[in-house]
């Protein structure tokens, strides 16, 4: 419980970054640029998610919130300072990128609706959108890696491993496309019958791309999980690792671990298979429903996984005296 705000921050950050990457990828990959407008709905994901993440991280430090500007003062040696700066950069770039989507003269859903944001978007110019998006995506990837490296500390033998930043990055690649698929599926389901038919093909194409991406990321995640469990039992993780692995596999956190495996891995794979089969059978509606389910499962799984990450960690100082023996 004590890490709930961190958990929320990281999962929403992953969602924001993942969704942004998915959108940028879509923009790169879509051949018929005219259909881009249909993807606009997905541009609503990154910024709200990132803002929820920022709010969540602010809550534990609320009493000192006016002091929070100080967080960037130690950029030379503190990864957290770097994380704060990269978060800001990511949000700024993502915000611009989002603006350029939602204010687009052809399909921007907020065009001429909210004050002067159109003017700002126009000033930046829509032709640079993909470049800005790419920069935001790079920042996002940097953000997740720095967030992960934050926890790669010699004083935390359990986290002191290359898998830690990857555990921050890889789930973003499952969450993002799944979130985008969900947004598109919801749009599809809400759309009128007439529009549905022309939208069907587009959704089918996207889902066909997304499920492979999510599958790939999930497989990487499973491999990482196995590597991590192996690492915990290696000499470099030491006694802390052994104690942690015991807590995970046969101890107080076993339930959490099993739920995590069940959601982000087992159920996710089942749903992915379901999506694949539905697509093959051209049952787009079912595929859409399954995609929504997939996203929920992945999201819950990631919340559980991040909670497990914080809870099942035996700190160095708890076992340090052993080293004196």
């Amino acid at each position: 419980m004590s890490h709930i705000w961190y958990v929320l921050t990281y999962v929403f950050n992953q969602l924001a970054v993942g969704a942004l990457i998915a959108l940028v990828m879509a923009e790169y990959l879509v051949k018929d640029k005219k259909t881009l407008g249909s993807y606009e709905i997905a541009s609503y994901i990154p910024i709200p998610a990132a803002i929820i993440g920022v709010i969540a991280i602010c809550i534990p430090v609320l009493p000192q919130i006016l002091n929070a500007y100080r967080l960037i003062f130690n950029i030379t040696s503190s990864r957290m300072s770097m994380e704060v700066i990269v978060t800001v950069l990511f949000i700024v770039l993502a915000l611009v990128y989002t603006l350029l989507w939602v204010c687009h003269p052809e399909y921007g859903s907020l065009r001429k609706k909210v004050g002067k944001i159109d003017e700002i978007a126009d000033m930046i110019g829509y032709k640079n959108r993909l470049q800005i998006g790419t920069m935001a995506a790079v920042m996002g990837v940097a953000l997740l890696f720095i967030s992960g490296f934050n926890y790669v500390l010699p004083s935390q033998p359990v986290w002191n491993h290359y898998t830690t930043p990857l555990f921050f990055m890889v789930p973003a690649l499952t969450l993002g496309p799944a979130a985008m698929a969900t947004a598109l599926s919801i749009k599809y389901k809400k759309a009128a019958k007439k529009e549905q038919t022309e939208y069907k093909k587009l959704l089918g194409t996207y889902l066909g791309f997304a499920w492979k991406l999510v599958l790939g990321a999930t497989i990487v995640l499973i491999i990482l999980q196995l590597l991590y469990l192996q690492f915990l039992q290696s000499p470099s993780a030491g006694i802390a690792g052994l104690m942690t692995v015991e807590q995970i596999l046969d101890g107080e956190h076993t339930t959490l671990f099993l739920l995590r495996v069940a959601t982000s891995m087992v159920i996710a794979l089942v749903l992915l298979a379901g999506v694949a089969i539905s697509l093959k059978a051209e049952a787009i509606s079912r595929a859409a429903t399954l995609s929504i389910g997939l996203f929920i499962v992945l999201f819950v799984g990631e919340l559980l996984g991040r909670t497990l990450f914080f809870e099942a960690c035996v700190h160095f100082y708890e076992v340090a005296p052993h080293l004196l023996l």
Binding site: M1, S2, I4, I59, P60, V61, L62, P63, Q64, N67, A68, R70, L71, I72, F73, N74, S77, S78, R79, M80, S81, V84, N150, Y151, L153, P154, S155, Q156, H315, F316, Y317, E318, V319, A320, P321, H322, L324, L325
Partner: protein, 176 residues
Amino acid sequence: MTTYKFLPDVERCIRCGGCEVACKQENNVPIGMRRIRVVTVNEGKTGEMNVPMACMHCTDPACLKACPAKAIYKREDGIVLVDKDKCVGCGYCAYACPFGAPQFHHGEGLFSFKGTMDKCTYCVLPYEGGAEKAPEPKCAAFCATKALLAGDADEISATYRQRAAMRLQKGEIPGE
């Protein structure tokens, strides 16, 4: 050049808790915050051992490097302190410290704010802050078995070497 350090002589620590209480009293540390605590390993088994763990006042403090707000500083005499006016309460130092020295409020519930970090100040600063006093840590002064050694690094090492030498030679009792 004085460099203040702690050295726990684990052969002697019996976890009586004198250091913990002496610290609370001297520095007015509230309940729940433990600037020093004694950790037991292998409890009830052969090899049982107690180690008093406060802040080690590291030469190259991980907390100082990790602190994003530059609130942690090291005095010339080696004592590592935190400026509570600058501390944001992010808690990152607690992850970076290998000894679990940084302390935060441990409330229950969603909105239990951590507050600013507090840790062992080598008895130069009480919990509520104020003017820095002379570095005379009460945990070591009150240590029941003289297990926790404090003072200038050279003095500590001299004391510890003497003990180690005696333990090695297991010599005659002086004066007999």
